[in-house]
Amino acid sequence: MWRDATLVAGRDLRVEARSRVTAHQVVPFALLVLVLFAFALDPDRGILERATPGLYWMTVLFSALAALARSAALEEADGVRDAVRLSALEPAGVFAGKALAVAVELVALEVVLGAAVVVLYGAEPAGIGLLAATAAAATVAVASAGTLYAALVSGLRARETLLPLLLLPVLAPVLIGATRAFESALADDPVAGWPWCGLLAAFAFVYSVAGALAYGTLLEGT
């Protein structure tokens, strides 16, 4: 399974490296959202600083939708789904590879957005360990749940609009957990943040396992 996951992740990342959709479209979109939040809340600098964790993760989630849609589109290209079914690739490996590729893209996006909130919002990084663990768990959670739901709606005519409608409510616990953990880390109170990080890790585990188990059925049925 891991061999297939590496193969698929490498392919998706190579497609991204060649097309530069994330670099040229998703990252600028995310930065634009952060700037617009800053414009909207700039009159009250205190609100902007307090809302930084929430705004950061909202931006990550919205941007992740674009990355997930792009990832799913690769599987819906001309005859690719049939070719995957005819290959020796294990469905669980395909799922893991696609989720891994999305996670790598999200990590790059989160680093850029992290730098942006320091510059634009005046955030002062603290509790680096908790920040890193939270970002890792939330990234895996978003990538695995997103890849699963993207496969669920693939083949439907309205998949572009259906994916956010289905996925964003599912990711609400990720938004809440990641925001609370980041608030604790930035307030230099990491003890209060670790339970939220644990919640994120549990969420990531459940959706990773569910995705690996369900992807084969979704590949056949959609």
Binding site: V15, A77, D78, D82, A88
Partner: protein, 238 residues
């Protein structure tokens, strides 16, 4: 000898609609069978059903010794399907695509090199993104992806479409070579003159079933050299 393909009264659905309404087909190892018929006759669906991509919901459906109705997955890895859908990634190069699908079918990298050379894409063209290729070059790339699988059963859906004369001759030569090496071929084509020259037998379909409803003649006892089959031996089920 056990037939490579055995369909009896096979029914397949696309959504809720019957795309195959009771097909009979027997194909022996080394045989080359041409499916012909008007648009909507069910040729593509037969090929996709034989690949295990369209479920057969009634009748008998055996391919390469496996019951498609029980589990099509063992069959899928042993067939090669060439259709109008290329299965290629536009942003990746020819080399990237063939290497990926080769590795996805557990092929050795040497087989990838060989396949690219056979289809004439081993030069600088292998580094060109698929998005910049002509339709014929894409078809050659798809053909390389098929070759690298070393399929036992070749399923070719309109294989000559989009190819120039040279590429068509190349494809026909590859089919003949594969048959001599023991492969079996089922193809559909509207270019009947070229396809009939390639085929041992012709099976005519219409409305998702055998035209005329006659039973399919028994398959030949073993592999035959393609070049030795006179046109008079081409049998029509109609």
């Amino acid at each position: 000898m056990e037939p490579v393909v055995h369909l009896r009264d096979a029914v397949a659905l696309l959504g809720r609609f019957p795309a195959l309404a009771g097909i009979d087909l027997d194909v022996a190892r080394g045989d080359v069978v041409l499916l012909r018929g008007p648009n909507g006759a069910g040729k593509t669906t037969v090929l996709r059903a034989l690949a295990g991509l369209v479920p057969v919901v009634r009748g008998e459906a055996w391919v390469l010794g496996h019951d498609l109705r029980a589990d099509p997955r063992p069959v899928r890895r042993r067939v090669g399907l060439l259709s109008h859908a290329t299965g290629l990634f536009e942003d990746l190069t020819v080399d990237d695509n063939v290497t990926f699908w080769g590795r996805a079918t557990r092929a050795a990298d040497a087989d990838v090199e060989a396949a690219l050379a056979v289809v004439g894409l081993s030069g600088p063209r292998r580094h060109v993104p698929v998005a910049r290729l002509s339709a014929g070059q894409r078809r050659r790339t798809s053909l390389a992806c098929l070759l690298v699988r070393r399929p036992e059963l070749w399923l070719l859906d309109e294989p000559h479409a989009g190819l120039d004369g040279t590429a068509r001759d190349l494809l026909d030569g590859l089919v003949r070579q594969a048959v001599e090496e023991g492969a079996t071929v089922v193809l559909s084509s509207h270019e009947l003159e070229r396809a009939e020259a390639l085929a041992h037998r012709v099976v005519t379909l219409d409305g998702g079933t055998n035209a005329g409803g006659d039973p399919v003649p028994a398959p030949p006892a073993g592999a035959r050299s393609l070049g030795s089959v006179p046109p008079s031996e081409v049998s029509h089920v109609a």
